[in-house]
Point group: D4
Chain length 248, copies 8
């Protein structure tokens, strides 16, 4: 890229001002720098992490993104904050369990939707993280199939659905407590598994550390791990993989 720009500058086909602008690809809101080239560079526009941001901050960032007709995805946003933003932007949709507020520039969609991502969770307490993953993946344009409450202590609930899980392009496996589910899934499928530990549990769980360590030490291959409770991050990696599979 650097060479291209240099060559155009040399050729006179690109002014210095324009060359600088191509590198300075963000809009400076003072408290934040909105990255407008991100969709071009990474395939999806900037995502807003809602926790710890005020309604005003979120609103001005989302308006900057929306002004370029980019999709909006706001994670970890409370019902209360979402309600305030929805008054100004009723075109957005709020998913309560997932705590996600989003808007799709092109609701109709054109993507070939042949494959799907499997989102699994071990217990009902893991639902918020699993839903954060599932909704994120859907907003980013992938198909999702949910397999919930399939923890390893009742292994038949999982085995019963093995065929459908095996059919996915990639699995996002969400589990708290001892976090053993990804190891079992990893042994059943031949596609990549993204493991998401949750902070569900108590005592020696240490806010998800137990599940995190379990997943990092998995004896099954093909498993990689994201941060505790990071359903969004698990989905993001899965979508990148799903896209590779669906490009065929």
């Amino acid at each position: 890229m650097m060479e291209d720009i240099l060559r155009q500058v040399q050729d006179g086909t690109l002014s210095i001002e324009e060359a600088k602008k191509q590198l300075a690809t963000y809009e400076d809101l003072g408290f934040a720098k909105v990255d407008h080239h991100r969709k071009k560079r990474q395939g999806f526009p900037e995502v807003i992490y809602g926790e710890g941001k005020s309604v005003e901050q979120i609103t001005s960032i989302l308006e900057a993104i929306k002004s370029k007709d980019n999709d909006i995805l706001i994670t970890r946003i409370s019902q209360e904050k979402a309600d305030k933003i929805l008054k100004l932007h009723p075109e957005l949709t709020y998913e309560k369990i997932a705590k996600i507020l989003y808007w799709k520039a092109n609701a109709a969609g054109t993507t070939d939707k042949a494959g799907y991502i499997a989102v699994l969770c071990a217990g009902t307490s893991d639902l918020p993280v699993a839903e954060e993953a599932a909704i994120t993946a859907e907003v980013m344009g992938s198909n999702v199939r949910r397999f919930y409450d399939v923890g390893v202590a009742g292994i038949h609930r999982l085995l019963d659905q093995a065929k459908d899980i095996q059919g996915a392009t990639v699995s996002v496996v969400v589990a708290g407590m001892e976090g053993a589910l990804p190891s079992v899934v990893g042994g059943l499928v031949s596609h990549p598994v993204i493991a998401v530990p949750t902070s569900v549990g108590y005592g020696a769980n240490f806010q998800g550390l137990s599940a995190l360590l379990t997943m990092l030490n998995s004896c099954a291959s093909g498993i990689s791990v994201v941060n505790i409770d990071n359903g969004f991050g698990g989905a993001y990696s899965a979508v990148l993989i799903d896209r590779l599979a669906r490009q065929k």
Copy 2:
């Protein structure tokens, strides 16, 4: 017990000297106090933990125990130390993988041996701990069936033997790395499960911490846990349970 002794002292059927002896139930070797009443009190004579003890120390303790015709069980003893002791006491038997040296006062045995303990391990690297458990249980008088290399990443290897595992009175489940095996076993059986984490693994395993936390946080019920690599302790608890079951 206190009341019995007091009553006998009052009755004059027990001298003060004898009353004191009944409480002072150990032999003082200077560096150690050998507990001769332990078999009566706890059902099995004192066990010698070999690590960090010299051949001389081990020998004098084992001779004190043997002089009362009590069984001998020495754990965590290296081949080298065992060889030296075997020269003096060729009647003992050394189990190399388990690192156990033992002698049974009554080799013939009289115990009703109907039930059995299931000893499972997840991978071949967990063998030394599993064998420490299996040999301990056998020396203490229980039947043992071994189910090795049945880790959760290839779940069919475990399910295939479910029936035989379910038939045990109690399971000792040994696993390193992510330590997920006890959770799956706990969901398959209706008897108590003793989980033994091992230090097998690397990196974020932190010398067995990962497997330990997994087991403590198990979503399956009926699982209790012993220290990392403590095959002996797992077997000891299992034997106490097995005896309760076999007393019928």
Copy 3:
């Protein structure tokens, strides 16, 4: 089991639909999969962990379980939630200190109740966990004797009751702070000891980590450990053991 089902399918005595149903043993409520075969497979119906579940979720799960005339045991449920459920299901009983809501299908009971489980706790602050253990064991059909406030700093309080503790089939020993009680109990009895660390303490206690490590490192044999504050889990293991002893 697999062979039995296969044989019946081959014989034509079992339809494929029925064969599948025998493996698919749960009811799918959407957000949860209720395991109806659990009583058959594991000897006690599914237990509901109340924390983090809504009144609605708990109610629909308990109704699914109750519809099969199975016992109900809901742990970690606040007075507030319990009151709401009791309005709909006044036949349930709430134990305030233990935070348990339960219902027994067959209040009369038929079990032979010869033996008993000893539930000990070190200090009065450990009572909620001890009661969670005691009530769980009672609801599951075992006799329980309570030995409370017998911590090691006043060892005579414990020794005084040694005989009654020794008479149990199994002990559940609950302790916070330094968690030394199971080690002392383990040296006094010849039956299995389930140790339950509690988060009672402050500073270098680290929410129960201190008591947990103490119990895992116990120099006494026959002790196994469950998660911090897991009175339910301790009782569950104890009941499985008590049943083995009482089957005689």
Copy 4:
């Protein structure tokens, strides 16, 4: 799969013996159960983790695998052990830095090799882990391009090669010390990134914990993480992804 087998048994096209064999898919060597169906189920035959296994154990496992004309991949195997095995099996190849011993059933290969995996490492001390990843990926059939010594403290070394890195289907990013490289790479590429922390460093590095936490907390999206020093695991996930991309 279960339904298929059941139907064939019902049809009489499959004997019970054969049905059982299809589920019992491993060869029992006593100390290990070799999984012959793994290639079919997961796309690559069982991999042998060499650490802690004896030359004899490794040899008998590899011969069991090779007897089915499956590829051989042995990781974490020392030069010394490898030399002994090479005497018996001179057809194998040993990669010294990666500590990998391997054999490909079909050296010629038929796979379409259009795409490639980028393997990056931050410093020269991370080379062994990076090479474990690179060789694993190559043995498993992927193309690999290496970008070594491109740590963030001299960011121009990385930016200079951005175009070639962006061209990969997936990146495996290996880094020790502060482990910041995956975050920067994650911001430059639009494909999935597998981050591999290494134990390179000292002091507050805590054997790789620092790099591991950095990678789990990355502010860049599309990054998932494997265990410390687990170059093999990072490559395995990457190969599964690369295959999805190359299936087109």
Copy 5:
């Protein structure tokens, strides 16, 4: 200093009372000892850490300091407490984001203000810590230039401003989550970098531990680290350095 005082006592030019006073350099408020010589000894008067102190305690300390015409700097003080103090001392100024209340004895200033400190932060959530650093440095008499939201996942936002950052005498680099920013900055500049980890993040961030370890393990040289969220401490070190540079 000791020798000077001794010599003056010997000379009779200093009374014993006066000699003692020169060592007893603080005012005893009972609950606190206000250090009046600190400005002389360390170049800046005592700073008041507001957290955990009552309005009354803060007021009496600040009045003791102000009575000597020393500057006032109160950190970690809530809006609520500040409002109460401002009623009594309207001449003070409150900085809301930084949570700092201050007063400068000599608002005009006489310091040569040629150089400047660069204060950088990675994300908008790090603003409170960055502002604590920036305001502290300004109150202590340094020039500050702010470079905010320049995290490593969008490296071009940082590189774009490299020249201005390089022009500073010292950089204070504030970052949470994975904390990689100081490593990249350390590779771009030739002046000292003070790294300030923040507790921004979740899960395996462990309240800033992740960022702290990252910074301590930085592969770049010239970086030293202060406590998590310690914007004040980072600025204090930076001001000492900036003064050395500006003394020329």
Copy 6:
């Protein structure tokens, strides 16, 4: 003691009932066992730890203790709870900063009060713990001198009072943050030092862990440590030592 009781039982000078009573030295309140012999055995009656106990529980324990004319010492008790108890027992005294409620059976006292305990604290935020120590020591009958706000960052404040500190029989040194004060004090005095870490601090302080480790690793001799924030425990040890010194 055991021999004495046995001999009296044998002599007939002690009935079995009485012998049992001499060992069963506590009053059973159901939820607690109040230890009436503690003053005889350990020199001070049972102390009530107020945290987590209800007003009712505290009241019934204190009344049981008071019924034997024993001193009352209740620690960690909130103003709110104390107010309720004071309505029933206005003869008690509440110390607000120390959160202690107490009553002395013999206010006049008869103890020889020649020596004194030095209680030091590093900063004003450590006051609550220091006062818990100081009041505890006073209620238990020792003289106390307070040396507050003498942290090591202004070493002259400490050195200035070295002589008075050196005159104590024992020092209780309370410090949070880096906890360095005991090391410096330990180098200045020739009497025992009890170090009390506090949870004062933030970030890498980890709720007092930093100060605790500092004190355990002190390079000065004669220092021993109690739990984080355990002012009571520090004072208790100090009083035992002070008594030994004052017995002369």
Copy 7:
């Protein structure tokens, strides 16, 4: 002290040179500063920590100390190093288990030796630490009685000797594994208890952390703790206390 020196300087009774010397109380060996006033200031001359020091360094420090006729105490010194030093200084004595090399200036002694320190240890593996404590106390002039192998799992071994332990002025209680012994001892005695955790154990013991936490969280009062394996430190504190008691 400062005032005294100032007054003498003013009076002319002390020269400045002499005044400085009274503060500069150590001998500078280049690599070390030997503190000759320590015996005056703290009651015992400087102790040499042998680990990590060369034979040459130790020899020159001990000769500097001995030149003032001060006692010599060298801890953590291997047999090998001790042998080399003993060739030069055959008047020293080496204690093998304690790894202590010492010399007493006045072997006859004049101290009133009425009281004694009780040194207890839980198991035979704790002997080296217990002996380090016992020998240190003896060299420093206290009487010592040893109570070894009295761990809590066989509580009768401890209770049997309660009377003799209660007779001590102070107890040093050494324990590894779960470290429960000090809690039980603390409940039996009315004198101060110094608890010394040892690194004896494995797995979740974490090199003595388990025992350390147990002791810090002890529910018994009057217990303070020193560093893991720090038998010397435990004894030093005990000797200071014993001296206070024996001064009567």
Copy 8:
């Protein structure tokens, strides 16, 4: 910089090839990329971290650096490796305690050497780290004054030299065990303090963690911290600061 290069390319005064070379500023040795512009960019050429590098690797990197007449600084290099390199490059100098091998391009030097860095260490065991700092600073062109064995347990040894320490431009304070020295120094001086924790200690020291936490939590201002045992890093920061001071 970017603008300058762009402008020259536009002007035709810089070819594209040359423009690319100005950004590609390192020499690629295959296993490493030697950064030749580092001296220009950061004021000192690349430093070689010797640990984990072979003699061959070190030699080829140092020859690449030396070929540009840049200074050589190799840290953490054993005597054995150094000896081999010295045979090839006898012009280098090896510092044994510091484990540093170096060569100065311009031994005469031209730098104004008015100021100096104070390097302090607490105990003799901290010497290797202190010397790594001192030698690094000297090789990089600063004056150094050493203040060794001035730990806080004998505070007079430190105070005695306060004046000379106060005269430095910056202090590097090295301490293990409890690591309290920087706090005391920070309270005595008005210049920046770089604190270097060492791994010297045992038990609850946890390989330097204790000293590290102490320094991060210091109650004194103006202190920043580098990694455990990182004498080089401490010196590097100090030299950058010293240069700023000496530029005047």
